[in-house]
Point group: D2
Chain length 351, copies 4
């Protein structure tokens, strides 16, 4: 099958959940992919999607999707790729079953992220890691994307790491509510409040960053020799994770060179002109009040990363603010871009 | 005059503003002080306070205060101490004029904070700095308190610095709206949003901390040999600054020893049993979800500092979350406690 | 037992839930009542309260309560009165069992509110309805309080109904999040939003008002001949229901007479000086910007009702804004005041 | 000039303010209009727009506009139509001067709304009122649109009034922050709060509705014989006014007929296929939780009106919830649609 003749049939695992809904929203009118299967828990299986899901996206539920029947998450779906927005409690064995059965599993779940043979992939940051799938014994394959807060951070670090080398990173996040799914955070816990704790989040940011920046060596990833410390907070923002970052570089870097590194950066998705690739990747703001989540989370249709306030840090070398859309760039959109890379790199033809 | 025979007459400069209102609220029913003068800008002078001020505190405006006439900010007020909540644009010369005329000026404004001969005072942290006033050539004196976000930070650091020595500090703040005064931050700028910038705030935190922890040497302060880096954000919280702090200590410290240092800390105000002194000074939470501004900002009537989430930091040594009430502990309440210290230490008798 | 010799032992049904927690908070240091039993679902039974409950009140959990063991909701608790904050799904038979066994059940649940022989009681509004309990065949008795949004409305209407007669009421509510319990409303549903629907709420306001203002006639309530239409909305407020009310009166009333009716009103709880009775009952604001939930919900320790903006209505006669604290005046506080009335009226001695 | 040969040059008065910015955003890429002049106060005049305005729209400031020079508001601008977003404090004489000089003034300001010879125009509701301009003695003309909260209400009432006749209306609004301009409402006034008062708003809703539904009779408007009572509240919502409406009709109407009236409604803008006309005009929701401002304010690019929860009212006949985007449908978008109607109706050719 070649992807430009006709659209590739794709399925969504966990289609009724909040990540699943975002997959549906972003895959609407996708030039390469067409949704042909929706799967969810037993409770939803058998129902029409419009009856099974509590659709809470701003974009209206497409009527074709609304009237599709929801299947169970068993590997007999009429599609080639499955996007997984499954809850971590169940994602592990289901995703494996699909990979075993020959499906290409593009997962946003955390379960397989740290497996030796599974790429933890951001198409702009470590596209070469895609090769790890060759080590997988599955008939199909599993590709994962990192945690939402890791994605914004590592994207912002990527141009700096390429040019100057990143040694140490201290990051404090102010994360949006949508990151916790639906119903997620109780309104009573966050109105007029900050929650200084997100279970497991700091650990993910700290370890995932090392894998993402790891070198591919004899088809395994040597984790990056980098130190990362994260403190994660929840704030009363609907979408868009804001992060205050301090960084120590291996090489001395001038402020204007760092800004230029962001402004000039283009990764493989930009070179390949993948449909979901933002261009430019980064928007750097000279106005010190920016970026702000409500104003800038939708930059590049939610796929670009916004940065501002680069200045000297007395403890490390530099500090700045990063903003990225957590459910688009940080979840469903990142996964879709990963799938696009996979298609363009011929991983579907190869079989 | 002895403070326990009858209450000391005090005045408030900038009485109609948001810090001024907090002074009024906290000085109501104060055992040592009685408000005898209210002063504000020319526009308000001559009016009854209830007509001059747009009172927006939750506590009702006391009727005695409501019917006091507002004076101009000239040094002929019928009181001994003046609490200044003046805007920085005008505070400088007015506070000096009062000090020249013999008043004890307890100021929350930034104008004189960095002067060689002016104590930048937190009664629990550096009470010995009060002696700096002896260098002042004023007939009266000026005593200042630090910026709201500095106060929470330096209080949390104090027990650690005493026992283990603080070398480096990296702090990211999530600051409340009331810190910007009234009307302050537009609702359109902060609903569903974070503002990653507060003009001048990071500089204040970085330099004030060094003065506060400085050693008094031959009646001047040798700034502390400490490195501080701050990143300041505004979030949608009414009251209470939350801070994510990383710290490097001179001495290796066990987690339980640090927690004990906080839990056991008592400063001069606690020993002297000053009326506004919180006791305990710190509340440390074992629950990782805490402290949170809406739940804990009023600990110790807003004068205590709440801390939680102490854990190892891969970049520095330890990290934790600090919360303090920015308009009580971080402004008016800190100033009043400073005044109480001054009274108890005999600075009023001395004249 | 006489209530003034020693405190009356009381239990709380549904003690771990959000209404249960409010009962605990408000009964702390109560002059007449002492908590001697805490009961909750099987899941919690047997545990210490501090382990069974996720305490999320601002006031710290009292240590005596923290270390009490939670019982099951069976009628063998060591107390005389039980306050019920049970979920409506289970409250019906449990409350009946307690009443059968001789307990005085003071319930905030909706299950028995509309029963012929159960008073739907607001101590300031219809204290005479208490007599209905004599019709109950229980060895003990059940007394209920109305829905939170009904309480604010009917209290505001009471002085008008007494003097001028209320014929028609049109009310639109803007209700606080705490009214939905915990976790209740998802933050994603309410941040930057309004929800124009609260299931069952409008029906409760419309029918409960008629029973409350009903005349006691031969020991049954003749529902009031009054027309009520309610529209209920949820808004992003933590505590405090705001209601925009229009009313048609039987008698022509001057604006100043209506305001005087509120300002001068004292009910039976005020005359009897019950411990939880607010005095004054109403605060009327001349400032057209008031009342506001964040500023005024705590009037009278949360037991008073705030009113403002009385003006002519072109459709009915008058319109105004009412504010009341939904979890204090509108729930636990109202129930406690009902219990106080019952005690003072001798319903405990009688047995 | 014919509008379909080339685009009509338009200017914006008050271009730097919040309504002015919305005009710029909505006129970008307009098929009929091209912005050729930007005018604002003396303070801004002479500067490039990007330096004069604090652009706070989500859409980026178009670079052509950014680099236009701001003029003073004097009637020598190079354009045919001026859209006025001027503050009411200055709009009156400036708009008149432009009309005198021959410009077509499309104003969102309140100053001339109630003038006998000025149409208070919503293109879907009272397009025939446009003829009023013939009475104007100006060389040009002034056309106004109603207040933001009036627009949502009267649009929702229009199909009902056409078919069943509207006799009485009771409306309670929950209005968004953007309606107050920028900086507008202080964050301290609205977080965790409701403000039950918007100065002048209720009066506008009550009187404007009567003019809008008035009959054109011998070239003057006979105000509608209708009774309207409004209660206006401000809530913590960025954009989108929600209104709880009760209505009494002249003719008995079945619920399904009312819903059909909304769903089938098409006005003159829809028939003429004006570029900014939403189609459908109304979206009626069967789900009782809807409409909600965050989810539905952008229906029809912000030009459609969302309605839900139609049900019987015990006081009047029917009640329902209306939602409309206050700065698009309720301000700049309504004005632009008015201008489109004017163009299509030949008011520009006539001269």
């Amino acid at each position: 099958m070649t992807y430009n003749e006709k659209r590739i049939p794709v399925g969504i695992l966990g289609a009724t959940g909040s990540v699943g809904q975002k997959f549906i929203e972003l895959l609407q009118d996708h030039p390469w992919f067409v949704i042909t299967a929706l799967a969810a828990s037993e409770r939803s299986a058998g129902k029409l999607y419009k009856h099974a899901a509590n659709w809470f996206q701003k974009a209206p539920l497409p009527s074709r999707i609304a009237n599709m029947q929801v299947s169970e998450c068993t590997p007999d779906l009429p599609c080639r790729i499955v996007f997984s927005g499954l809850d971590a409690a169940v994602a592990g064995p289901i995703e494996e079953a699909f990979a075993e059965a020959g499906y290409i599993v593009i997962s946003n779940s955390k379960n397989h992220r740290m497996r030796d043979d599974v790429p933890l992939l951001i198409a702009e940051v470590n596209p070469e890691h895609l090769e790890l799938v060759k080590k997988q014994s599955h008939k199909g394959m599993i590709v994962t994307n990192p945690n939402c807060s890791t994605i914004g951070l590592t994207m912002a670090l990527k141009p700096l790491h390429d040019i100057f080398g990143v040694e140490k990173v201290s990051v404090v996040t102010m994360q949006a509510l949508s990151g916790a799914g639906y119903p997620g955070v109780s309104s009573l816990d966050i109105l007029d409040n900050v929650i200084p704790y997100i279970s497991g989040e700091e650990e993910k940011m700290q370890i995932e960053t090392l894998k993402i920046f790891g070198k591919l060596n004899d088809n395994k990833v040597d984790f990056a020799n980098m130190v990362v410390s994260a403190q994660c907070n929840r704030v009363a923002v609907v979408d868009g994770h804001t992060e205050s970052v301090s960084v120590k570089l291996k090489t001395r870097a001038a402020k204007e060179d760092i800004i230029a590194a962001w402004r000039n950066y283009a990764g493989v998705p930009q070179e390949l002109e993948l449909p979901s690739a933002p261009n430019p990747v980064f928007r750097y703001f000279d106005d010190p009040r920016y970026p702000q989540p409500r104003l800038h989370r939708d930059e590049g249709k939610g796929m670009a990363v916004s940065i501002g306030r680069l200045r000297d840090c007395a403890v490390l070398d530099h500090k700045f603010t990063v903003l990225s859309h957590n459910t688009i760039r940080g979840a469903a959109g990142c996964a879709i871009l990963n799938a696009e890379l996979l298609v363009k790199k011929g991983y579907l033809d190869a079989e």
